[in-house]
Every structure is written in C-alpha cells, then in structure tokens.
C-alpha cells in the first residue's frame, strides 16, 4: 500500500489537472473576496446598514465549496480515467498489487487532492478577506467547525466520484459522468433547499387598487408547497445526507446539523468505498 501511495502522490504532484485545480481554487478565493470588496466600496451606504458579517470575510470563505466540488469532479474523472486510458493500472495488477489496495490508494490520493483544493480556497479567501475587508466576525471555533464539516463533505463527495470513475473504464465517459453527477446533485440540493425554505403560511396582506381605489385584503393562509410529515422528513434527511447539500448549508453558514452531516459523510465514505472495492474486484479489465 505504501508503494502505491508513493507512486500516486508523485503522479499527483506532477498532474497538470491538479495544478489547474489549485490555481482555480486560489483564484476563486481571491475573486469572490475582491468582488465583495468592490461592492462594498461602490455601495458604502447600503453596507453600513447591514450587519457586520456582510462586510467581513466570514460570510464568503465557505461559499467556494459548491464550486470546488466541480473542480473535484473534473480532477477525479481525469486522474482516475487516465489510469484506464493509458492502461497503467495494469502495471500495478501485473506485479501483484491487490485491487483493494489499488482502490484505497486512489481514494487517499484523490481525497488529499480534493481536500487540498478546498483547503486552499478557504485559506486564500480568508487571507484575502482579512487583507481587503479587514474584520472577521466568526469565532475561531466556528470557522474550524465549518471547515471540518466542509472537508468531510468534500471527502464524501470524492468517495462517490471515485466509485463512479472506477466503475467506468472509458476516460472520457468517466469524466463526463462525474461532472454530470455533480451537476445533478447540485440541482437536487438547490431544489431540496428551496422546498424546505418555503414558508408554512402566506402572510395576511392589504393593498389599494389604484384604478378603483378599492382596498383588497387577504387572510393569512397555508402555503400548499410547505412540506409536512414524512415528506418533509425525507427532504430534511436528503438535505443533511447529500454532500453537495451539506456544502450548500455550510456556504450559508447554517451550523444546525454539522454533527449529523459529518456522521452521514463517514457513512457515505464507508459505503461507497466498500461498494467501489467490490465492483472493482469483479471487474474484467482490458
């Protein structure tokens, strides 16, 4: 296993896609902070009325996770697919390495790469935020909690992507499948969040019709789109379970379910890795 890890990490270091991922992460961190800084400079009166967190970096340092997850999908698809495409995975099997060790070494290498990209975004955006926006309102323990949960979600997503990439022997198809899955998960996460955020009641209202002068009123009424019962529980479960949904919650600095989310991440990592090893063991390689 150590031998495989040594080879994987050297390859990772030389990987153009990984370097591109690091460049993207760092660039994104600077870009998001710079955009907020320019906005604050352009609209000082508006921001003066908003809470302090809007003019500090802490509202932004976790937003990048939902973008970095796409970089992770591209990286895992290409990094893993290259082994199939170039046929180099055969060099490992032909000299006696077990399939389980090959899979685990890939998980560790891909996990390290994706966590580094995510970590780099947080570090760069935090540094840029402190430099340009000056203050930070979050407690260090909060930053650490969100960072930990974000890293766990990123690792869980990496495990899912690796399962997909290792199941498809075609490099291009594997890369596209990873990207598609991430897009589907993001779309699902946004839908889930939207449904869960729907208010239980529509507020009572009253307005004057300008043409007739008539006062129109409406009673407070139930929102038919508000989720209740089992359906709401399922949505809540998915919101906490899906790694991209977790990253979305973390981006919104929602700290209610961090413990549950990390627990689900551990479960996802174990299940997808177990399934991935079983599938890879049975796979007829060319």
């Amino acid at each position: 296993m150590n031998r495989l890890l040594s080879a994987e990490f050297v390859r990772l270091w030389k990987s153009f896609v990984f370097r591109l991922g690091l460049f993207f992460s760092a660039g994104l961190g600077i870009f998001i902070i710079a955009m907020r800084w320019m906005d604050v400079k352009a609209h000082p009166k508006i921001y003066a009325e908003l809470p302090a967190e809007y003019t500090s970096a802490d509202g932004l340092i976790f937003i990048g996770g939902i973008y970095i997850v796409f970089a992770a999908a591209v990286f895992v698809g290409i990094f893993t697919g290259t082994e199939y495409g170039d046929g180099t995975i055969r060099n490992k099997l032909a000299v006696g390495h077990s399939r389980k060790n090959i899979y685990l070494s890939k998980l560790i290498a891909c996990g390290a790469a994706c966590l580094t990209m995510h970590g780099l975004y947080i570090a760069v955006s935090l540094a840029a935020g402190l430099l340009l926006l000056g203050s930070i309102t979050m407690e260090p323990i909060e930053i650490l909690s969100f960072t930990g949960a974000g890293m766990a979600a990123m690792m869980a997503m990496t495990a899912i992507l690796l399962l997909l990439a290792m199941s498809i022997q075609n490099k291009a198809a594997g890369s596209v499948a990873c990207l598609l899955l991430t897009m589907i998960m993001l779309f699902a996460s946004l839908t889930i969040w939207q449904r869960l955020s729907a208010p239980e009641y529509h507020d009572a209202y009253a307005y004057v019709n300008e043409n007739t002068g008539e006062v129109i009123t409406g009673e407070k009424e139930e929102n038919p789109k508000y989720l209740t019962g089992t359906k709401r529980k399922v949505y809540e479960f998915l919101n906490n379970f899906l790694p991209v949904s977790q990253l979305y919650q973390i981006a919104l600095n929602d700290s209610q379910n961090l413990g549950t989310m990390i627990m689900y991440d551990c479960l996802i990592i174990c299940l997808s890795t177990g399934a991935g090893i079983v599938i890879f063991q049975k796979k007829d390689l060319k």
């Binding site: 495989l4 050297v10 030389k14 170039d86 046929g87 032909a94 000299v95 006696g96 390689l285």
Partner: protein
C-alpha cells in the same frame, strides 16, 4: 522440466461468448514461448488472466508453482513483467519518469539500473520528451522497459511487434532474444506474425477458438517442417539399402514412398537404384514453413 506457467483446463466466458475453452499450456523455464493464434483465438484473454486483469470462469493456472487461487499469487506476479496489448505508459511523463513510477510501484529502494534499462530499450536519449510524442515503436520499447523494472524472470509480451516498421521489428526481436540469452528471462510472446516468431521462439503453443491445438518445441517443429526429398520408387527396401550405402538420412513411409532428409545427387541415386532394378517414379522437394504448418494444423483441428 521446470515450468514457469502451467494452465489446466482454463475457461473464460464473457456474455454469450467462450473466449477460452479448457486451455492447457506449459511454459518451460528459460524458453521463448511463441503463442500463436489468429485474432480472437484467445491469446490476449489468457494473458489478461495470468496478469490478474481478469479471473478465469473455471480451471486454474500455476505461476511459479502458486495456484491462481492462492492468496500469495501476488508474490509470484512480482517476478513477472507484462505488456498487454498496448504499452501501459503515462503519456504525460518522460521515459525516465515512467520507469521511476514503476520503481515506486514495486517499492524498490533506489532507481539503480534505470539507465541500463533505458539503454537496453534504446530510449536513453529521449531526455525530457514526453511519451505522448513518442513513435509507436518507442512506446512499445518503453512498455517493455517498464515490464523489465525489478528484473523479472518472466516477461509476457502481447503482440509486441504490432504496428512496428521493419527496423522496429528487427530491434524488438533482438531485444527479446538478448533478454532471453543474456538474462535468462523466460518470455511468453503472442503474435500472429509467424515468420517473425519462427526466428527466435524456442517453444510454440498453437491456439484456436480458445483451445490449445498443439504445444511443441522448436526442434519438434523443425522436425515437422523439415525440408526433404519425397521419392516414389518401385521398392523402398532397395531404396533403403542404397541410401544406407550413401549414408543419407531417410524415412520409409510405405512400400513405394519415402522421404530423404539430405541433398541428394539425383543422377547418382537413380543410377544406383537402376543397378538393383528399382524404378524411380517421381521425386519432389517438400517442406513446410511455420505458416504452412500452422495453416495445416488449424485447418486439421477444425476438420477433426
């Protein structure tokens, strides 16, 4: 005889297709084993099985005495190097970096011998050129170089001359022969370019439709393909007496037919036979190339 690889009734079935059908083969230690069969005969499937890329549906094989079901089979595989179909190389790395990767995969403590391997496969001057810019021949040679990392005793080469130019084919043949002669590496080489195989193989295995049709040594094949003069005479007893007198090697096939394994002075032989009243009806040179032997063999197997 010591065998590196033995397979027993090996079967491999894919969906709706039997790629290997009870294949048994034996590769002697120190040999260059030419694995011959047409496209789709099952050559690559067997190589995939012994390299651990796929599992047999049934049957078994032993590699260095270890069965494929043995958990320690990996230790036997560590003693082999393989190039299966296309060379397995990182296209975005240099030749040297590719070899270094294999050193790491094998867990070798240093890169000792790396330059020697590069020289052996003729890639010592490629510098920082990435493998994606290599010619097909260079890639093939790099694939073999990777397979040679760790000084394997057993080299498996699947169609190593595919796509090579004539010069590349000659270089590949010399490389394989040198590895076998100088480093005592046993080589399993599959090919359908028979004349090329005939120049260096010491043993042959003929495969058709997933079955081993025949295994033989180069000597046995030469014997079977030996050039001879086929003669038809009125009495082979007289012919035998005359040939004994001339100290020529021969084989009596029937009362009228015989094969003579030597260059015969036709006039002298005819005169000598005439002295004993033996008539010569016909005389013709016969002999088979590996190709014609293969065609006859596979044709024969199909007609059985």
């Amino acid at each position: 005889m010591d065998y590196i690889l033995r397979t027993t009734a090996l079967n491999k079935h894919y969906k709706g297709c039997k790629a290997l059908h009870g294949l048994s083969m034996n590769i002697p230690k120190g040999s260059i084993y030419g694995f011959i069969g047409k496209n789709g005969a099952g050559k690559t499937t067997l190589i995939r099985l012994i390299c651990g890329l796929q599992e047999p549906t049934s049957g078994e094989y032993t590699l260095y005495g270890r069965k494929n079901t043995d958990k320690e089979i990996g230790k036997s595989r560590r003693r082999m190097g393989a190039v299966v179909e296309t060379p397995s190389i990182y296209l975005d790395m240099t030749a040297e970096d590719n070899l270094k990767q294999q050193y790491r995969i094998l867990g070798l403590p240093s890169f000792e011998g790396l330059v020697d391997i590069l020289k052996l496969v003729g890639l010592e001057d490629t510098g920082k050129k990435k493998a994606k810019h290599f010619s097909l021949g260079m890639r093939q040679r790099l694939g073999i170089g990777i397979a040679l990392v760790g000084s394997p005793d057993f080299l498996v080469l699947d169609e190593p001359v595919n796509g090579l130019d004539p010069q590349g084919i000659i270089e590949m043949r010399e490389l394989i022969s040198n590895l076998n002669r100088k480093q005592q590496i046993t080589v399993l080489v599959s090919s359908h370019i028979l004349d090329e195989l005939a120049k260096f193989a010491t043993h042959y295995g003929f495969i058709d439709q997933g079955r081993m049709v025949r295994e033989m040594s180069a000597e046995e094949l030469n014997e079977a393909c030996r050039k001879c003069i086929h003669v038809e005479v009125s009495d082979t007893k007289i012919l035998a007496h005359v040939l004994d007198g001339m100290e020529l090697e021969y084989k009596i096939l029937s009362g009228r037919d015989a094969d003579i394994y030597a260059n015969v002075n036709v006039s002298r032989l005819a005169l000598a036979l005439a002295e004993y009243g033996c008539e010569v009806f016909s005389m013709q040179e016969r002999g088979e190339s590996l190709e014609s032997y293969y065609v006859n063999l596979i044709g024969g197997a199909k007609n059985e």
